[in-house]
Amino acid sequence: MPEHSESELVAALKAGDPHAFTELVERHSGTVYNLALRLLNNPQEAEEVLQETFLSAFRALDRFEGRSKLSTWLYRIAYNTALMRLRKHSVPLTSIDEPLATDEGQALPRQLVDWSTLPDEILLGSELRNVLAEGVAALPETLRSVFVLRDIEGLSTAETAAILDLTETNVKVRLHRARLALREHLTAYFTSAGAVGRRGGEDAHGEDGSRAV
């Protein structure tokens, strides 16, 4: 099946070409699923969001006017579908409109341990995927969606901003906060797993509790 350009794909979709819809699914189901999975932290619900997203897209195709990229349009549907489910859950959510603390004077962690030079057999242990998932699940929703789209799915700042209705500056601020929190999470894991000690590299001299500032 030849890959269409975006405008060809939109035209084929509107003409009801089943190959075109298959292409849409093949191109974008991964990101739709991962966004839903990380927001809802539940594979079953993520699959339901995947189905609802493509069904909604299928029904709404006639109204797609091409003002955004097709992927942006689709991921917005996915995000809103997942968000509606999230809001039905009893867990209180942080509001998307909640102002971010813009004070960049976040405290540097007291202990700086260098686990970046650990050998792959430790870094890439069997628990790694679970540890990565737990880290994302622990993020506030406002940071999670930005992190998934930017760093896991590799979308641009501009597209992430368009999907989530944020400014690009806000995307960058949230991405940075998410990364710092996840770095902390991995540091805690690699430290508690006993992986980091003397092997943590010659610069691992922060274990005396001294602050970096």
Binding site: G16, P18, H19, F21, T22, V25, S29, G30, Y33, N34, L37, P43, E47, L50, Q51, F54, L55, F58, E104, G105, Q106, L108, L112, V113, D114, W115, S116, T117, L123, L124, L128, R129, L132, A133, V136, F147, V148, D151, I152, E153, G154, K172, L175, H176, R179, L180, L182, R183, L186, T187, G201, D203, A204, H205, G206, A212, V213
Partner: protein, 84 residues
């Protein structure tokens, strides 16, 4: 990070700029300031190395494949005319 300041850049300003630094979004002068700082500050070096590794691990291993059969279940509920 304010430009043109005198003296060394404090660690918290380095920390605030690290994502943009790692994403290649800072201009040369700011990159040079960060690199000068890191040459002298072991903690900030660890911070940037572990932050870079965090991003790399998520980029490489953070994406989950669709569950087995999910694609087929999706196609089954879509009202597509089956292509030959």
């Amino acid at each position: 990070m304010p430009m043109g300041r005198m003296g060394p850049v404090p660690c918290d300003e380095i920390l605030a700029a690290l994502s943009e630094y790692l994403d290649g979004e800072l201009d040369e002068q700011l990159c040079a300031e960060i690199e000068r700082h890191m040459a002298a500050c072991g903690n900030c070096r660890i911070m940037v190395d572990t932050l870079r590794k965090t991003i790399l691990l998520y980029r490489t291993y953070g994406h989950e494949e669709l569950p087995e059969g999910a694609r087929e279940r999706l196609y089954a509920i879509l009202p597509l005319k089956r292509a030959a």
